[in-house]
Amino acid sequence: MGIRNADFNVIYSVGLSMVGMVAISTVATVVVAYFSSIVSSRYARDLREVVFKRILGFSNHELNRFSRASLITRSTNDINQIQNVMGMLFRTLLFAPIIALGGIIKVLEIGSDLSWIIVLAFVSVSVLLVFVIRNVLPAFRRTQIIVDYINRVSREILLGVPVIKAFVRQDYENQRFDRFNVEYRDVNLRVYRILFLMIPAMTLIMNLMIVLILYFGLFDVLDGRLLTGDVIAFVQYSTQIVTSFIMIGSLTIMLPRVLISARRVEEVLSTEGSIIGGVHASCEGDAILEFRNVSYRYPNALRDTLHDVTFSLCPGRVTAIIGGTGSGKSTILSLIPRLQDVTSGVILLDGRNIRDYDLNYLRSKTAIVPQDAVLFSGTVADNLRRGKSDASDDELLGALKVADACDFVGSLDMDVSQGGANFSGGQKQRLSIARAVVGGHDFYLFDDCFSALDVATESLVKSNLVDVTSNASVLMVSQRVSSIMDADEIIVLDDGRIVDKGTHDELLGRCSIYGEIFSSQMGSMGGRDA
């Protein structure tokens, strides 16, 4: 600041101290960059971990409430968004107020009456920001929705290629996509055209501020109230102050977006898995499971999916449930390992409510094979060991044999791609049966899991299963009478209610619905066998 009156020595010493400052500030910013990277990355890592763990503890109820797709986005994209803004927060937002403060102190030191110009610039920047935010936010929200549509329609088209071709609906699909595509374009155009107003407008505000300072500074200098050097310094400092306002301002534009993400993650974290285990980790009886007046209703549903269902499972016995599409068969199975909980009534294991048992204990007693076989990427062995983590290779091979899966599984190390895409439907079902067999369980729950097997394979697998499950309770769900007619007890389920129970022959004699199902499947064959 002493340019005018000082000698060369002043220039030297001030110059040296400036170099020192630059060095210190550079080191400091590098340190900040280092720590901010670690902190924001670690924060994201820990957040992902917490969220993932929380979601693993969800029951079907919570999963359906959020939808799985949304949970995936929440634990990936949303957390990434938060992390990005956090990093930026550390790197710029933290500096901005300090820079602004330093600038303000320096400006006050100069002690001119020009400070109002900075205030004016500040107000203009704020007005600009409010204008942009108000106009951009609704459009932003709309963009998110349209992006979802674009993704969804593209996915549908990709999945529906054969159907689209078969109906010759290529043009229809192109148009369907185009509707969203056009809106996406228009909404994007609006968002960006408003957003891009920021930079030129803010640059203009800054430059006009400088002109104003010079204009009014001139009089102060001519009156001898200010030195020229002070005016120059004033310009520098006020530029710094306004730049930091702008920095804070541009971050506030990102903030609403990240707040949406934060809220979405927070929703997950504030949701408790509704199914909590009890303390009992042993049972004294013979592992008899009893459904007593069980009803189940999906949240927000108008009617019960299951109504007043009573039956029991005993070791060594095969119980089967048959019923039409949507009669509630799969729901019954999901209640046993407490994937969801009954709405009313009670399920007892050896006379004690299953809610009183430790969840891991309860689930270790049951093996479920779902209708659509779920496999995980990894090896065949990895997948089978989901049934029992410490199973030996021999155990795994034995299980494959039971499920008649040896012919297509070359070795236990055979790769399984995501979702088991490298196996056919029938092969996936057999692998998921093998997984259930590994380890040995007290309850085997088969949910129509032979549907993709041909008749010969089905009967082979089933006769193998008889040996494995001889001391366990088996509950088998099917739509095919032929699959379940030799069960010890057959439960006929219609619209969530038990219509009748009994053996095949008993039911044929007295249950009209069963008779109908039977004749629809057996056709004339029924007569021949009788």
């Binding site: 340019i3 001030v14 110059g15 400036m18 630059v22 960059a33 990355s41 670690r42 890592r45 992902r48 993932f52 693993l56 969800f58 995936i72 990936t76 992006v147 674009i150 993704n151 329609v153 549908e156 088209i157 990709l158 054969p162 159907v163 071709k165 078969a166 109906f167 290529q170 229809y172 699909e173 192109n174 056009v182 996406y184 030129p200 640059t203 203009l204 430059n207 002109v211 010079l214 001139l218 020229t228 120059i232 039409g324 599409t325 949507g326 994937l339 689930r363 779920v374 989901r386 983590s389 439907g425 549907s451 041909d454 009967s459 007619m485 030799d486 199902i517 629809s520 004339s524 064959m525």
Partner: protein
């Protein structure tokens, strides 16, 4: 300039992508040109600004110096003129700068709109065999992610790069006109900061790439775990899954923070260089002022120019990554768009079957060599109900795909009324065959629109009638919104069986001359299936139909049963004939029978 290794190794690809990018812009020549003009004008005006401000400052300085010496009045007129001119320049510069962004967003959103449209149209144009080569997720990512990164690449880097270069050149020239020594000092620092940045970029690239890989694996663990949630819980695998997630998550973190760190270094580095220039200018400039070799205002101008010079450098370095991503995106987009569509030159229209369909010594292999169908010959007369049976993988569905001309035969030929189907226009064949597949495909719209898909001209009554025939009307009416129920993303608001009923209703509505049912009722309960079948039988009375089902009971009434094994026709005839034959079919049937009655 930072260059990643790939770019160095394969310059052809980069050059090709740039060419492709330019070809996209070619359709907007006029607007691109206008954008450039705006960018240049805006930069030029903004570059001149500090010069005027500097002059004005010098005047203040001189004015202050002259206060004591009474050497004349302050030249207010010139001073005001300078400031007024500066205001005008700044306003005009900002206006052009906004006009440039305005034009550019128009171009970039329009390009990305067209690319998305072209990609989807391409999906609908490619043959099934060509689609088999591309993974769905991959195509999806091209339509969404790649187009988006191209768009942001164009808007936030493309012109910025140009303006940055113009700014650097313009600013350097302005500085030269003020003071050569200071300019040299400043300009020498530019390559220096590029060099440091290039070094950092090269180091960070490694981590940037590896963290992308680990990010991918974390994302897939998450996806898989939530999809297989039921199984994980039912088998008490939460802890194991969590552990493996944690390993991946940790590995991602350990690479991710480093890549974050390196990219965070850019800011401090450019700031450092600009601060050093600032100090050097301040010190050297002060010297010169004392020596009367330079005006004070020029130093102020230089300060602003340093700022103006650092901005574009920062911009260029920051956008290098975006440019790379955008170029990679362009490459991927064109890779898909450039797939040659197999032209269907056959123009003969197929107007429905008159006499018969025949397979003459048909063979079919996938491009990977898997032979699915061999020496298949049979003839089907108009109005026949044909059933195809056999084990999984016997080639049943392939016959359907060949009939629909999803794939073309590898050898032999298929004829409709004696004419090779390859001579017919594909769409005309498909227009006369109704097909229901095992995987029911529905889209997110109302149930009404999903059924109408079968016949876009159908009115609400037609839709209702078709639904009744398919036994879907009942459950639809039980839904809170009836036919206006919107099927959601995973269409999990209705069951698998109900979905099949909707696809059957859609097919009933389409009312075609031929019908193919490929395991169409596999998830429908048998009672409903029987009802549907009766209705279908009525519908199919004088239509030719093909039915694939593994429930043998459903096909016994067929006029003709084809028994396939490993792609070969081993038996054919009516149910009774085949039973009498006492062969493969009978053994299948008996096993089914035995399975039921053991």
């Amino acid at each position: 300039m930072p260059r990643d290794k790939r770019a160095v190794r394969k310059p052809n690809d980069t050059r090709k992508s740039i060419r492709q990018l330019l070809s996209l812009l070619a359709d907007y020549k006029l607007r691109v040109f206008a954008t450039f003009i705006c960018a240049v004008l805006s930069t030029l005006f903004s570059v001149v600004g500090p010069l005027l401000i500097g002059r004005a400052t010098t005047m203040i300085f001189d004015g202050a110096a002259s206060i004591g010496s009474n050497s004349g009045a302050f030249d207010f007129v010139t001073f005001y003129w300078l400031l007024a001119l500066a205001v005008v320049l700044y306003v005009v510069s900002s206006a052009f700068s906004y006009l440039q962004s305005w034009l550019l967003t128009g171009i970039s959103t329009s390009i990305s709109y067209r690319l998305r449209r072209d990609l989807i149209e391409k999906v609908n144009m490619l043959s099934m065999a060509q689609m088999d080569f591309n993974k769905r997720g991959d195509i999806l990512s091209r339509i969404t992610n790649d187009v988006d990164s191209l768009q942001s690449g164009i808007t936030s880097t493309f012109v910025q790069l140009v303006t940055s270069v113009i700014t650097i050149v313009g600013v350097s020239m302005m500085m030269l006109s003020i003071n050569v020594t200071l300019t040299v000092i400043t300009v020498v620092l530019v390559p220096l900061s590029f060099a440091i940045i290039a070094f950092v970029v090269r180091r960070s690239q490694k981590y940037y790439k590896s963290q992308l890989v680990y990010k991918g694996s974390v994302n897939s663990v998450i996806e898989e775990s939530f999809t297989g949630h039921d199984i994980i819980r039912a088998y008490n695998q939460e802890d194991e899954v969590f552990e493996s997630f944690r390993e991946d998550n940790d590995r991602w973190y350990s690479h991710e923070w480093k890549s974050q760190f390196y990219s965070a270094l850019m800011g401090p580095i450019t700031t450092f260089v600009s601060n050093i220039s600032y100090v050097v200018i301040a010190v050297v400039g002060a010297y010169m002022v004392l020596l009367r070799a330079m005006a004070v205002g020029d130093i102020l101008a230089f300060f602003q120019y340093i700022e103006n010079l650092t901005q574009p450098i920062r911009m260029i370095t920051r956008s290098m990554n975006l440019v790379q991503t955008a170029l990679a995106a362009v490459e991927r987009i064109f890779e898909f768009l450039d797939i040659e569509v197999e032209m269907d030159e056959s123009t003969l229209r197929f107007d429905g079957l008159q006499n018969s369909i025949s397979f003459e010594d048909v063979g079919f292999s996938y491009p990977n060599g898997d032979e699915i169908i061999r020496n298949l010959s049979f003839t089907v007369n108009k109005g026949d109900k044909v059933a195809i049976v056999g084990h999984t993988g016997a080639g049943k569905s392939t016959i359907v795909k060949l009939l629909m001309r999803f794939y073309d035969v590898s050898s032999g030929r298929i004829t409709f009324d004696g004419v090779d189907i390859n001579e017919y226009d594909k769409n005309s064949i498909r227009s006369s065959i109704a097909m229901v597949l095992q995987d029911s495909w529905l889209f997110s719209d109302t149930i009404r629109e999903n059924i109408r898909y079968g016949n876009l001209d159908a009115d609400d009554d037609d839709i209702r009638r078709a639904s009744r025939i398919a036994h879907a009307d009942n459950f639809i009416m039980q839904l809170p919104d009836g036919y206006d129920t919107v099927l959601n993303e995973d269409t999990d608001n209705i069951s698998i069986g109900q979905k099949q009923l909707l696809t059957i209703a859609r097919t009933v509505l389409s009312d075609k001359n031929m019908l193919i049912l490929d395991e169409a009722t596999s998830s429908v309960d048998t009672r409903t299936e029987k009802l549907i079948q009766d209705a279908m039988d009525r519908l199919m009375e004088d239509k030719t139909s093909f039915i694939i089902a593994h429930r043998l009971s459903t096909i016994k009434t067929a006029d003709r049963i084809l028994v396939l094994d490993e792609g070969k026709l081993i038996e054919s005839g009516t149910h009774d004939e085949l039973m009498a034959l006492d062969g493969y079919y009978k053994s299948l049937y008996d096993r089914f029978d035995a399975g039921g009655h053991r």
